[in-house]
């Protein structure tokens, strides 16, 4: 079955009693045991809930893995994955990393004695250099957020496997519709499903898919024991969003490509970071391992003083954190999503005060371009007016 069909049919007609086309929301926390020692398969919702289970099976199948797990947020999903490790273990992590993941590693896992090195995960020599006796896994974001660096997943997964390391891939930006890391050799896929999978900026959720029996069992143990599970209402809402994933991703990609091209030719824009542009250094790797491009990109304006008025003048595009929703959102990474990353590291990767991140929604591209155009014009007027333009 093609992925579009599987997505449209998540949970459909799988409720045997009534035949309901939309799977019911089981708010129950506990389930009656038919007899002692017998179970319907459900005992306590933290361990397993029917609504959550439909979602978990769907994501496992979509990502071509063996088991799926739903969490209250993407960070909760990552934290539970990190609980696979123990005090003294070491991880190798993408340099250009989501600020929340960095904070979790440094402030929380760090005090438990789990350490991390941040490298360009596309550089196998750099990976080899920071590998130690206690290295256990590689965590990759591809493309990265916000600088859209692309890692060759097949190459890194093969390297990791040969060294006995787990490969964990954050697939939030591409979703299984465009990229399936487990098919490229990864062991664990993680999502902030708050983004494209949910797609409507209305539900917080995290998803994990594992490959292999042992790893899946260990993850089930941690999921239940730490208890950061997704509620049944949110599970239902997430499935509802996922049914339109294919349509949305195609539109997000189309809009993002057009707007990235528009900005690439704009005199107030110094640089556009989007792997869907032929000018992007990883354009060919991206085409090799993914069937499409995400709906977000970043760009640098020519002058940091333009940022504040641009954010003030955009009308259609909301100035808010998060990404992946039907509505367009613009974020200022240096002060919002990446504020927790020390300035030295931020500058090393290029998250500076001229960088803006644009999560392109599914509005009409012409309207979005018109909104950007008027905000850029107004911002330029203001900076000129202040007489401070160099």
């Amino acid at each position: 079955m093609r992925i579009e069909s599987r997505l449209a049919q998540i949970g459909s007609v799988s409720e045997p009693v009534t035949g309901a086309v939309s799977y019911p929301i089981y708010n129950a926390t506990a389930f009656r045991h038919p007899r002692l020692g017998q179970s319907t398969g459900f005992d306590y919702s933290r361990t397993k809930n029917p609504t959550r289970a439909v979602l978990e099976e769907a994501i496992a199948e979509l990502e071509a893995g063996d088991a799926g797990f739903a969490f209250s947020t993407g960070m909760a999903a990552l934290q539970t994955i990190f609980s696979l490790f123990r005090s003294g273990d070491h991880l190798i992590v993408s340099l250009d990393l989501y600020g929340g993941t960095y904070r979790l590693l440094e402030r929380i896992m760090g005090k438990f004695g789990v350490t991390a090195s941040y490298v360009d995960t596309n550089d196998l020599e750099a990976l080899e250099r920071c590998r130690t006796e206690s290295t256990r896994a590689v965590l990759i974001e591809t493309p990265t957020n916000p600088l859209m660096m692309v890692t060759d997943l097949a190459a890194v997964s093969a390297w990791a496997r040969s060294r006995g390391l787990l490969t964990i891939v954050d697939n939030t930006l591409l979703t299984p519709f465009f990229q399936r890391p487990l098919e490229l050799g990864a062991d664990i896929v993680v999502h902030s499903a708050t983004k494209y999978l949910g797609g409507h900026n209305d539900v917080l959720a995290g998803l994990v898919v594992t490959k292999g029996k042992e790893l899946s069992e260990e993850m089930a143990f941690l999921h239940n024991s730490i208890g950061s599970v997704l509620g049944p209402n949110d599970s239902w809402l997430l499935m509802r969003g996922m049914k339109t994933l294919a349509l949305r991703m195609e539109r997000h990609q189309e809009n993002a490509t057009r707007i990235a091209q528009y900005l690439e030719g704009h005199p107030l824009v110094a640089e556009v970071f989007y792997p869907g542009l032929e000018s992007h250094p990883a354009y060919s790797i991206q085409r090799k391992q993914a069937s499409g491009n995400t709906g977000i990109f970043s760009f640098k304006v020519t002058d940091a003083r333009l940022v504040e008025p641009i954010l003030r003048h955009i009308r259609l595009i909301a100035f808010a954190e998060s990404l992946g929703g039907v509505e367009s959102l613009m974020t200022y990474p240096a002060v919002q999503t990446h504020a927790d990353i020390p300035e030295a590291i931020r500058r090393q990767v290029g998250v500076d005060d001229r960088l803006l991140r644009f999560s392109v929604g599914i509005e009409h591209a012409d309207d979005l371009i018109a909104d950007l155009e008027q905000a850029l014009v107004a911002a330029e007027e203001e900076t000129k007016g202040a007489g401070s333009r160099g």
Binding site: N27, G113, G227, S228, R312, E321, G325
Partner: protein
Amino acid sequence: MAEDRQRSDNERTPDFATRLIHFGSEIDRTTGAASFPIYQTSTFHHFDLEHPPVHDYTRSGNPTRQALEDYIATLEGGARGFAFASGMAAISAACFLLSAGDHLICTEDVYGGTYRLLTTILSRMNIETTFVDMTDLEQVKAALRPNTKAVFLETPSNPTLKITDIRAVAGWAKENGLLTMLDNTFMTPYHQRPIELGIDIVLHSATKFLGGHSDVLAGLAVAATDELGVRLKQIQNGLGNVLGVQDSWLLIRGMKTLQARMEAHERSARTLASWLAAHPEIARVYYPGLSDHPGREIQEAQSRGYGAVVSFDVGSGERARRLLGRVKLPLVAVSLGAVESILSYPAMMSHAAMPPEVRAERGITDGLLRYSVGLEAVDDLIADLEQALR
């Protein structure tokens, strides 16, 4: 005089029953709605770069979840409240205040899920736990080590309902600079407010009496001070194991009837416990409201009542299984604290994660049953048990 009385009347802190209804967010300020809205949003628009909104991303803060968090903080008499995806997520978050190399002293007959968390996930992070009979202060004192950082209490304990003198342990812990955490699930703030007795962090599986309807999985934590609140907030936001907004709303809805439910639950529990104690087929009854319960005096000094969980021993595993097969009214299930009565079998359910020898040591025999007394008429519950025992 009359004026003074008037003033003191005005300044009078409303009774608990009133605070349950008038907790500050009972009315939506924008529309006047009598039920607080469900803010099903992941992110918030920044109207102005210089003046960010109160909430910017739902993992970090959401108005509906905030209403719940303020509500539980008020009820427990603490500085700040926090809502989590499950009781275990709340307990995980509190334990994550510790660091590798720290030592914890914990109630020995603690909930099986807490036991599992401490002995697997936290021990891998190099945090060691000593389990003691918390009702014996000498044992608690003897467990102190140079690296002891915290004490975890559960009283009444689960399932044998042993009573710990909260003031005594909290006082000793304070003298030794230790953090105290208490699982208040069985009592709820209606019966017992541990912060008033010197505890630093109160924890709840709000899935139980606070929610009360077996329809929402949730955990709550309350920090006694702002300083601890700030630390817990960092953990909550960092781990992301937050409660969803629909579930937050559902929990608020359940909590409004907490006092009405607890009064009825407890009245029935007392009747049922006395009836069981007089029954020739019952080897032993554990309920702090019974006159021969060793912790009754302490319970009365620190709590407003005895709660609604009654454990009893029918003498053998065979007899326990027979009874479970014959009861008609209570749900045979895990969990507790709901409008419906729930009968569970700790040896095979809530405490299955505990090794058999440890279980036996803690009185969790094969004949032990735990009865969470619901809101059915107690005469019906007794008649049902009578026929099952016969």
